[in-house]
Amino acid sequence: MSYLDKTIAEIKLSLDKNETTVSSLTTEAIERAKDYQEKLNSFVTITEDNAKNQLDNLDSVKDSPLKGIPYALKDNFSTKGILTTASSNILKDYVPFFNATCVNKLYNKGAILIGKTVLDELAMGGTGTTGHTGPVKNPWNAKRLIGGSSAGSASAVASGIVPFSIGSDTGDSIRKPACYGGIVGYKPTYGLVSRFGLFAFASSMDHVGCFTRSVLDSAIVTDAIKGKDEKDMTTFDSSNINLTANINNDIKGKKLFYIKELVDRNNYQDDMDEELDQILINFDLIKEKCKNLGMTIEEVSIDKNLLKAIFPTYITISCAEATSNNSNLTGIIFGPRGAGDNINEIMFNARTKGFSELIKRRFVLGSYILQKENQEKLFLNAGRIRRLIVDKMTTLFKEYDAMILPATGSIAPTFRKEDIDKLSDRYLLLENHMAIANFGGFPSITIPSGFVHNMPIGINITSGIKQDEKLLNIANKIENALTYKGQIAGGEN
């Protein structure tokens, strides 16, 4: 087994004992990135030169838990001097001159950036299939997708190229691909990690987070990138939050809950299949494990209509904000200049050429939602639903320590276009519930919990705002009670 296959904490120990070197780790990570690229398409850019430069300058970096650890970064984070495309043709040649705050922090901690990963174009999508350089494959089965939008970051960790990667999560863009890839995906409390340098999708729901192969690693990475940032007004002082140090606290007596309507078989009579059946069986198993760990777990009922409104609410808010956030993409200051004789033509042509069809459809929808005549009924009502849901959750988090649920209602889908009924309960309830955490900025983590049809599945755990220590603490204990910690996709199953 290669040292690269280990978790961050383990690799660090090996580095300290001189069992391996930073240089060989980095070299191997880059080799794997290249080797797997054809099969998985995880990367837009493999940043070999940058890695070399970082290695050359590593002596000046003071020791940290991430010093010398190779990592991958979603290609919607600004990197100075390194191509950053957001997987869109409209930014296909864009080379930023400044770093995202989290990139600077990782640089200063000595983590080695080995590549920029593919995402759904402009992070708008959940399949990992819409990037301008092609779809990302699932390392567990290349006929299946890994999910998105942080697709390449998920596949890079799931396939063992890097022990951790950075992603962004607006609806479930870290936690869903983490589930499909059998790894840990964590989105901290809104404002714990600075968004400066993250290309905005829906600013009020965008989060920076990470993929790792253990909960402890997520704590280590997040401890390194969190903190109040003068460049992001929505960040808060978190000097009193120490995720790594609290990861092994006693969890006996902690109270968990799950939402009855999301796991009630009666709600899925029309949509039931073996896959869903197995996922629900797995969830029952996890509930038992939680009880065995000394926690209580209770069923909570929430108005099904409110739950079914989660997805439309998410679509409404995210598309509306995205339309505005991407209005800077006109090809004037950056990006390919559109052809034309007048100013409107050049903007028009740059955008017509630069965006894929899916993005355009989302923008049209977002614009429709924000229009004066529709704003009240769509945009503002979505904001009202958002409040109802968040208020409900906030009340529950006063009574309970965390919410636990199956991360998704299915395993990673195949690339074959399937006609999913987007009005079905299964789609509206179980496939898209994780956006709850984005509505309220709640910390939320997905950890692997088993396999169905040889594909990984996961559970999602969510806590109240700024309860990240407790959340990772609980997730860590559950992870230890299971057997999937540190797992890497073995190739085609």
Partner: protein
């Protein structure tokens, strides 16, 4: 036919700060393009706005000066539209909760008080500037992100005089409060005019015509007057006014159609999610209130009521706060207000206007004026001498007392000294003296002139005259 004109103004004014509204790039006038910029101003992917505390403070101060209602929390909205001077594709402004609503200011239009109602005042960021050439335009982002305060009046203005009086007062407030330099020559203050004409007595307003971005007050006046004439003529000949946006050209003095307003553009406003609401606390309000000086209108009234000055004098004295404070300091040191006003308005303002300096940079300080006026009051010097001393003080940068001493200008007020000169002059012109007739003044004038000549103008003319009359009377009675 007679029409009533109704005008609403939207005035943009740049706020004086060190850095921009949402970025740490410098906010100062720079002729060299693209030197005052940051990635935030250019809307590069991944940037976030960081609101400037000083700009927010100043916006609250202005809202107070305009008697507006403040919101409980400060937050911003996005105004979405595409234009090459707008890098992000949206402008961060205030739509939902402007920093001030429902305010007013009172202004003097000629000698009448007019209340101008303020719909709202909001804080926003300026756009980039475009320089146009024959076949292309160049974009300079220095101005992009400069904090702007937009003041929107109700349609309550009914003449170009009222519009101008309001604009002038507004500008004075920006200067009084140090919120802005409000220099129209640098485009720091720009004005949109909405104007409509309706038949006298009509209860509904006429069709609104908008004139955008007029960059000087005199142009605002000319544009309004041109529009009144143009629209009156159209209405007189039975034509309809089209709702449209027009441009004022100051070379021709005419307005031209820019675009017809077929539909109102939908800016798809929504709350800016990257700037968390900032509480305007009682403490902050009180702190800022401390910074609000007495403004021009109140000062004018105070000067008229307490100091019995004319509206004209009061207005001139209060044009800028430095002059007003200078005046008030002089008053406080015991000078009679009317005399102080006279001196400041004629001599001092005349001088600083000619030299184009601020009154605070004038070397003739309040103490000097108090001293100088004191000498006049004590008959040490004459008013005419005082004028010469004033200019000598400025020229030589010396105190009045020094100038007086150096030039030996003290008046002779000692009666005996004057009397001896008078006697001398009478003896020299005894025949004339004997012919003195108290009914006719000419003889006295002659003797006063002689006495002044002998004393080189230092005798107090009033005392000299009284004494001469006395002496001449004695002389003819004796005979």
């Amino acid at each position: 036919m007679n029409y009533e004109v109704t005008i609403g103004l939207e005035v943009h004014c740049e706020v004086k700060t060190k850095s921009k509204m949402f970025s740490p790039a410098p906010n100062n006038y720079n002729e060299n393009p693209n030197e005052n910029i940051s990635e935030i101003d250019l809307g590069f992917p991944g940037i976030l706005p960081i609101a400037n505390m000083e700009a927010v403070r100043k916006s609250i101060l202005m809202a107070m000066a305009l008697n507006c209602k403040l919101p409980e929390k400060m937050f911003f909205d996005r105004k979405n539209y595409y234009y090459p001077d707008l890098p992000k594709g949206y402008q961060i402004t205030q739509n939902t909760k402007p920093v001030g609503i429902n305010g007013y200011i009172d202004v003097y239009v000629a000698d009448k008080v007019k209340r101008i109602n303020i719909h709202d005042i909001h804080l926003e960021e300026d756009t980039a500037s475009l320089d146009h050439y024959d076949t292309y335009s160049l974009i300079d982002y220095n101005r992009a992100g400069v904090p702007l305060l937009e003041t929107v009046t109700e349609p309550c203005i009914h003449s170009s005089e009222e519009a101008l009086a309001f604009l002038d007062s507004l500008r004075r407030i920006f200067l009084y409060t140090n919120i802005s330099e409000a220099r129209t020559d640098r485009g720091q203050m720009r004005c949109d005019v909405n104007i409509s004409l309706a038949k006298k007595g009509s209860k509904t307003l006429g069709t609104k015509v908008e004139m955008k971005n007029i960059n000087s007050f005199s142009n605002v006046k000319d544009a309004i007057e041109y529009e009144i004439k143009r629209q009156s003529e159209l209405l007189d000949s039975g034509e309809k006014i089209v709702m449209e946006t027009r441009r004022y050209d100051d070379t021709t003095g005419k307005t031209y159609r820019m675009r017809e307003k077929v539909e109102n553009l939908d800016y798809k406003y929504y709350i800016e999610p990257n700037i968390p609401p900032f509480k305007i606390t009682e403490k902050l309000i009180n702190e800022i209130k401390e910074e609000l000086p007495m403004l021009q209108f109140e000062r004018i009234n105070k000067y008229i009521n307490e100091y019995e000055l004319s509206l004209y004098d009061a207005t001139i004295l209060t044009k800028n706060i430095e002059t007003a404070l200078y005046f008030e300091e002089v008053i406080k040191k015991g000078v009679e207000p009317k005399i102080a006003a006279n001196w400041i308005n004629t001599r001092i303002l005349g001088y600083i206007n000619k030299e184009e300096i601020n009154i605070n940079d004038c070397t003739f300080k309040t103490d000097d004026l108090v001293e100088l006026i004191g000498y006049i009051n004590k008959n040490v010097i004459s008013t005419k001498q005082a004028k010469d001393i004033f200019y000598k003080c400025l020229e030589e940068n010396k105190k009045p007392s020094i100038i007086i001493k150096e030039n030996n200008m003290e008046q002779i007020t000692d009666t005996n000294a004057i009397l001896s000169v008078i006697k001398e002059v009478i003896n020299e012109n005894l025949d004339l003296a004997k012919s003195y007739n108290p009914e006719r003044g000419r003889t006295v004038d002659f003797f006063v002139g002689q006495v002044m000549k002998k004393t080189k103008g230092k005798a107090n003319p009033k005392s000299a005259m009284d004494l001469i009359k006395e002496e001449l009377l004695k002389l003819i009675q004796k005979n």
